[in-house]
């Protein structure tokens, strides 16, 4: 956290960038060309003949093919080497320089929030595209759902070799101190990978953690046993309900079971689970019951009395669970 003095100095430093240029104009590494246009149209699924059909385009009002307008900023992109820029590499331009100042003060997250582009003149094969970017506004500090930060708005003007104005793009990013999304912080330039949702984890306490530890560390399903009268019990609890003994150990289940009842869960669909999902009360050979899933089964084939065999499995990136499958007879 910055004290008010530091914050003032920091804001003065970042606000000094308003109105400044990123650096010299960027000139496209390739002139506008039919090959890149074709590739872009393929990827975007854009079949407009004005972009790719030279014969058809020759008869159009343009007299030849044009580049798709929304490709405008593609022509001046710096290409693949951008992916290898490290956060503390010397800044290639003032934008990187400004972002590094933010990073230094903990505003390590970045997310693009808005992009608006206006198009004035079409680019056509053979044109050489230039772009010229400036910082337009930097907001006061804002609290957002993903963290506290500053909105930076930049304006980029695109021109061709004759100085003709092709378009103007307003691009806004939020540089923020990540709170809920640490993943966004690791990638200082966009494209944070989102993790797949996982199943809800059980709450762990004195009376059940040992059971889940056996699942997670040893791939075992245990059944609690009273040391005094040897009664088995599940779910685990600290005292034997038969003889009130607090002494217990456990046995490992063979995971041979019979379906006592089941349900097919269809709605609502909770992230982390796949549907329809079969939940079942399994009567284990040892005599206790365990609620679990029956997998690799068509829900229509589920019947009460079905013999099943269970194993402990990794069901998603972070969750291990006992899961049961029908025993082929």
């Amino acid at each position: 956290m910055m004290n008010p003095e530091e914050k003032k100095a920091f804001e003065k430093q970042i606000h000094a960038y308003i109105g400044k240029e990123f650096g010299p104009a960027l000139v496209g590494q390739d002139d506008v060309n039919q090959a890149m246009v074709r590739q872009w149209c393929e990827v975007m699924g854009d079949a407009n003949p004005a972009y790719t059909d030279t014969e058809w385009a020759a008869t159009s009002s343009r007299g030849g093919t044009i580049a798709p307008p929304s490709m405008l900023h593609i022509w001046v992109m710096q290409g693949y080497p951008m992916a290898f820029i490290k956060p503390d590499d010397p800044p290639v331009d003032r934008q990187r320089e400004l972002h590094q100042i933010f990073d230094k003060y903990g505003y390590k997250g970045v997310v693009a929030t808005n992009c608006t582009t206006e198009f004035f003149t079409e680019a056509k094969p053979g044109d050489s595209i230039q772009s010229h970017s400036t910082f337009d506004t930097i907001s006061d500090e804002k609290a957002t759902g993903i963290g506290t930060g500053y909105f930076i708005e930049t304006v980029t003007n695109f021109t061709n070799q004759d100085g003709e104005k092709l378009g103007r793009m307003v691009f806004r990013v939020l540089k923020f101190i990540p709170t809920a999304q640490p993943a966004a912080a690791e990638e200082s330039s966009g494209g944070a990978m989102s993790k797949d949702p996982t199943r809800l984890a059980p709450a762990l306490g004195h009376d059940n953690k040992w059971w889940w530890d056996a699942v997670n560390n040893d791939d075992k399903v245990l059944i609690q046993r009273c040391k005094s009268c040897e009664t088995l019990r599940h779910p685990p609890r600290p005292m034997c309900h038969k003889c009130q003994s607090l002494e217990w150990d456990s046995i490992e289940s063979t995971m041979d079971g019979t379906v006592n009842s089941f349900c097919v869960i269809c709605y609502p669909e909770i992230p982390g689970y796949s549907y329809p999902l079969v939940g079942a009360v399994i009567e284990l050979a040892e005599g206790t019951r365990l609620v679990s899933n029956v997998v690799d089964v068509d829900p229509d084939d589920m019947v009460i009395g079905m013999k099943v065999k269970g194993t402990v499995e990794q069901v998603d990136e972070v969750t291990k669970l006992p899961q049961f499958r029908p025993v082929k007879s």
Partner: protein
């Protein structure tokens, strides 16, 4: 010492807000509105009330209700556990307080933004490390996250053991929407459903379809209990409390009691039924109508069986042919129930039970209603009452 609570107390006031999908106001306000309405309905003033009882699940503290409504002194506060199992135990609390002389008049209430706020269909979520949270951990990782999943498990086994089909469930679902279609305060007002509607609806958790499941609503409901003696001077026909019982049974869990030898009967309900009949000296033949907790259709069957209207495993046959309809043997959930009036955790059902005794239900049966059974949630620790004229 008091040896029986039978007819010692009466429900003399009921109050409800409208039922909606978005109340647009706080749960405290809903609570204050229904509590205040119940007191007014009883012909009493806030300063006549000296006890409050509610749900542990309620987000509104009784002291906030008291100061908001203007109840100056509380001599008894209680909160009853296990959600849908709680409502009639509020009556038991109130009756115990009034019949022992601890309190003069007790209000029970439930207020919830159950649709626009926290919804039960969203499933159980993380919380502090309570025994309750630990218990949910045996089900959550496997995706058994909602009440529909847990009830479906009992239902599947019930169908298997007794040859029941969804015909019985359809009977209940359609009959109650029919009642609701004539109840202006019901969410299903003017919207009866057909058998085809029932069968064509999607599964929520097989074997439960859409119309087997209750609705989620916003609203509040409350009641006032005072002594039989005092009730004589109050404006409405008192609904005398004939019995009020609570029960939990061996190997009890909240909706997931899957570890008992038999999971198609509800021993906690057998326990509650036994007490209700013992306290009141009545039997199933003396009950003229019922408000049976119907978060899901199959639990109506389980409760009818526990209360001895038919044998265990026979409920699915017993309900067929209009048994629960307006002219049937046991008109049930004449307000439309939780399935189709609204879900105010059973206190809205209690209000309807009182209306049946007063003779003011919009679906008042033609026959004389002397005694009404009102129950709470099934497959959890639960409670029930019998009220009468």
């Amino acid at each position: 010492m008091l040896t029986s609570i039978k007819d010692e107390c009466a429900i003399v006031g009921i109050g409800m807000t409208e039922i909606s999908k978005n109340s647009g106001r706080s749960e405290l306000q809903l609570a204050a509105e229904c509590v205040s309405a119940a007191i007014k309905d009883a012909g009493l003033k806030p300063h006549d009330i000296d006890g409050l009882t509610g749900f542990t699940l309620d987000h509104v503290d009784e002291i906030e209700v008291a100061r908001t409504v203007g109840i100056p002194e509380l001599k008894m506060m209680s909160r009853m556990p296990h959600g849908g199992g709680a409502p009639m135990s509020l009556v038991q609390q109130a009756v115990m307080a009034v019949s022992t002389g601890m309190c003069k008049a007790v209000v029970g209430y439930r207020a919830m933004n159950g649709r626009s706020g926290a919804r039960y269909s969203e499933g159980v979520a993380d919380g502090p490390e309570t025994t309750d949270a630990i218990s949910w951990g045996w089900y959550m990782p496997y995706g058994l996250l909602t009440p529909a999943c847990w009830v479906a498990m009992h239902t599947q086994r019930y169908m298997h053991e007794y040859g029941a089909t969804d015909e019985a469930l359809a009977e209940i679902a359609v009959a109650q929407r029919d009642f609701a279609s004539r109840n202006p305060n019901a969410l299903f007002y003017g919207r009866p459903i057909t058998m085809d509607d029932y069968y064509n609806a999607p599964y929520i958790v097989e074997p439960l379809k859409l119309y087997d499941c209750c609705i989620e609503t916003d609203g509040g409901a409350a009641f006032v209990i005072t002594s039989a003696e005092r009730a004589k001077d109050l404006p409405h026909t008192p609904a005398m409390v004939r019995s009020a019982a609570q029960g939990a049974a061996f190997d009890q869990e909240v909706m997931t009691s899957f570890y008992r030898d038999c999971i198609t009967t509800l021993p906690e309900y057998d326990l509650v039924a036994k007490q209700c009949y013992e306290q009141s000296g009545l039997g199933p033949d003396d009950l003229d109508a019922a408000i049976i907790y119907d978060a899901f259709t199959p639990i109506v069957l389980f409760q009818l069986e526990s209360f001895g209207f038919c044998k265990h495993g026979e409920g699915h046959e017993w309900v067929k042919g209009g048994t629960l309809g307006p002219d049937g043997r046991l008109p049930t959930n004449t307000h439309g129930g939780l399935l189709s009036e609204g879900y105010i955790h059973g206190i809205n059902g209690l209000a309807e039970g009182v209306r049946l005794i007063r003779g003011t239900s919009v679906n008042q049966p033609k026959k004389n209603i002397e005694n009404v059974l009102v129950t709470s949630g099934a497959s959890m620790p639960t409670s029930a009452i019998i009220i009468g004229k």
